[in-house]
Amino acid sequence: MSDLSFTENLTSSDITIEGTVGKVVAEDAKMSMRNVNVFYADKQAIKNVSLDLARNQVTALIGPSGCGKSTFLRCLNRMNDTIPICRVEGELLLEEQDIYAKNLDPVLLRARVGMVFQKPNPFPKSIYDNVAYGPKIHGLATNKAELDEIVISSLQKAGLFNEVKDRLDSPGTGLSGGQQQRLCIARTIAVSPEVILMDEPASALDPIATAVIEELIDELKEKYTIAIVTHSMQQAARVSQTTAYFHMGQLVEMGKTEQIFTNPVHTLTENYITGRFG
């Protein structure tokens, strides 16, 4: 704790965060969050964050490690529910619907808001079964043919089908890292979610696999609303339309990606982008 406050003093002795700089409201918001606070037991991880995810756009959440961007992302499909000491306050809406409402079923929410994780995590099943997992548990296909169709189209959308079409029965864990991550994306879109959350999806991959994933993300935004957490500013610049900069659990600045990277308003954002810390 003392270390943290020390850094805060160092970086914000002359720079204070007073609310968020820039435009947090989107005209056509798929999800909109207002005054979100997240606590781990007594420790506050997210402080009063408000932002919108614009429909069919990629929103990038950037910031130094430990700034709370992943925590915030995990609130959006209530993955934080699995941590008993975690408490979320504020208004989080998906299409005008409170996702933390008592009567809202997290199972349904997570079917609508899918998630791709930092480390590729294919299930120890065949490639086919990995993609068919979601449709099966949610009862999306009534027969084998329908299921086949969902699996194939998902693999195609994830740009993986041509590479694996001959070995759909071999285990998903046998693929390369990049292929595994695309399999995980295929697995997510097989459920036809409305929003896809990506938590540093390319951080465990080599540059070539990363490029493929980035291309994929760009294509996917046609159909889905995407939020991506990344520690790579270049990646944020390449794939996103909107960028939000987090610092010490607060949203410092949000705006169009070009503007954030070329002409940041807040000094903290500028320092981060120019590589003074991070």
Partner: protein, 464 residues
């Protein structure tokens, strides 16, 4: 002197040699003030001398104790008349036993001629024992003395006492770790040796595939069951039946307990439930046996009777249920390890797609942990097969060839205990049969363990 006194004497001598070695090294250096000239510290010299005094003597003592009885016996036999020497081994054994018992009593005058030989032999036996005791003490002293003299004679200024000490210590440590190998060797040899004796009397085919087990060889020819049949199939079937019932009980409950505690339970419930499982795991099997025989078996019989079923008072069901209870914590803790070894990302991946917790467990966690769980179950089976006290106390003695859990069956371990407790000569087919059963038990459990450990290890590598 008895062996235990000798141990103390040796320890005392070693202590003395420590002091002596230290003094000698100082003398070699030429006085306390010149001790710095020595390569090693004087106490290193002392330690070395003490080791040289104690270790050879202890080894000699151990060997002596181990072989004393056998050597004295053969010396005694050599002095017996020819006609007695030519008796069969078992007869000779009985005869020697008589002599030993006589030797322990006060030997008075004997008039009967048949007893005179025994009387003479008993006196001889006493004398041999006395001589052996003297000889043992003398040899031990001699060994101590000569070893100390030898090592002290080598002391020089540049003698590396510490290196020498450490070399010996390392050898001792190595010998200690070799005991595990010796134990395995001892088990294999003893069980194998007696089994071979057994199979020279009863054919292995009859033993492995025969369906009739009545090891009671008759004393008189006209007695019932005078045949002495050694067909072990009813035992194998009985063992498997009880093991199966135990697994039917332990696997679902143990697995569900592990799942609930690791995935659903609150921290508070976990801190209460873990000791509960530890209590179940720590209860001695004899207590489970008591519980099975006096509480569960009558209960099972009463319930069966109220349902109009005919239940034996030593039913396989009662023994199996209690054995299952004993194994629950075992299955639970090993499954818990297996489930916890599954990376957290898999669970998150499934939950993140909107799967419920139970769907995640059934479709992702359990398949991923399956090899570990299979290994756990194999180890549990091996444990159930080798479990003795519960079945000795709660299962039957009669070798019924049946798979009806309401009837009484017997197991391999029960028969080993029955055959080897009570008075009998050692090399009858009946006693040897116990070792053949022991061999089967050892081989089976060993195979199960090797396979289980392999499965578990391979599975661990998968996620490491």
């Amino acid at each position: 002197m008895t062996s235990s006194t000798l141990i103390f004497v040796i320890l005392f001598l070693a202590l003395f040699s420590y002091w002596y070695g230290m003094h000698r090294s100082i003398k070699v250096a030429g006085g306390v003030t010149k001790v710095k000239q020595l390569v090693s510290l004087p106490r290193q010299f002392g330690l070395l001398t003490a080791l040289w005094c104690g270790i050879p003597a202890l080894i000699v003592l151990l060997l002596w104790t181990v072989f004393e009885a056998t050597v004295i016996e053969s010396l005694l036999v050599a002095k017996l008349p020819q006609n007695i020497q030519e008796m069969t081994p078992s007869q000779l054994g009985l005869y020697l036993n008589d002599i030993k018992i006589m030797a322990q009593q006060n030997l008075g005058e004997v008039t009967e001629t048949s007893e005179q030989i025994k009387h003479f032999a008993a006196l001889e036996f006493q004398q041999l024992n006395l001589n052996a005791a003297w000889l043992k003490s003398a040899i031990i002293f001699l060994v101590c003395l000569s070893c100390v003299m030898f090592i002290v004679s080598r002391f020089r200024l540049d003698y590396r006492a510490r290196a020498a000490t450490e070399k010996i210590t390392l050898k001792v440590l190595m010998a200690c770790s070799g005991i595990a190998v010796l134990t395995t060797l001892g088990i294999v040899l003893s069980v194998l040796f007696e089994s071979i004796n057994f199979f020279s009397e009863v054919s292995p085919v009859e033993f492995l595939f025969g369906t009739e087990w009545s090891p009671q060889t008759a004393l008189r020819a006209d007695q019932v069951a005078s045949s002495g049949a050694f067909g072990a199939v009813p035992l194998f079937v009985g063992t498997l039946l009880i093991t199966f019932i135990a697994m039917l009980m332990a696997v679902p409950i143990g697995l569900m307990t592990a799942i609930y505690l690791s995935q659903y339970a609150s921290q508070r419930l976990r801190t209460v439930a873990k000791p509960m499982l530890e209590i179940l795991a720590g209860i001695p099997t004899v207590v489970y046996g008591f519980f099975a025989a006096l509480t569960v078996a009558p209960f099972v019989r009463d319930v069966g009777e109220s349902l109009g079923l005919n239940v034996a008072s030593e039913s396989a069901l009662a023994a199996g249920i209690v054995m299952g209870v004993m194994i629950i914590p075992f299955v639970s803790s090993l499954s818990d390890d297996a489930i916890n070894a599954v990376p957290k990302t898999l669970k998150e991946g499934s939950l993140g797609m909107g799967a419920t917790m139970s769907e995640t467990i059934r479709h992702v966690l359990l398949p991923a942990a399956l090899p570990g769980i299979v290994g756990a179950i194999l180890l549990a089976v091996s444990r159930a097969i080798g479990e003795t006290m519960i079945v000795v106390m709660a299962a039957g003695m009669a070798a019924n060839l049946t798979v009806n859990p309401l009837e009484s069956v017997t197991t391999v371990t029960v028969q080993i205990v029955t055959l080897l407790t009570g008075d009998q000569e050692f090399d009858s087919a009946k006693t040897l049969a116990a070792f053949a059963l022991g061999l089967m038990l050892f081989v089976t459990t060993l195979a199960l363990n090797v396979v289980a450990l392999k499965v578990v290890r391979k599975y661990r590598e998968q996620y490491d």
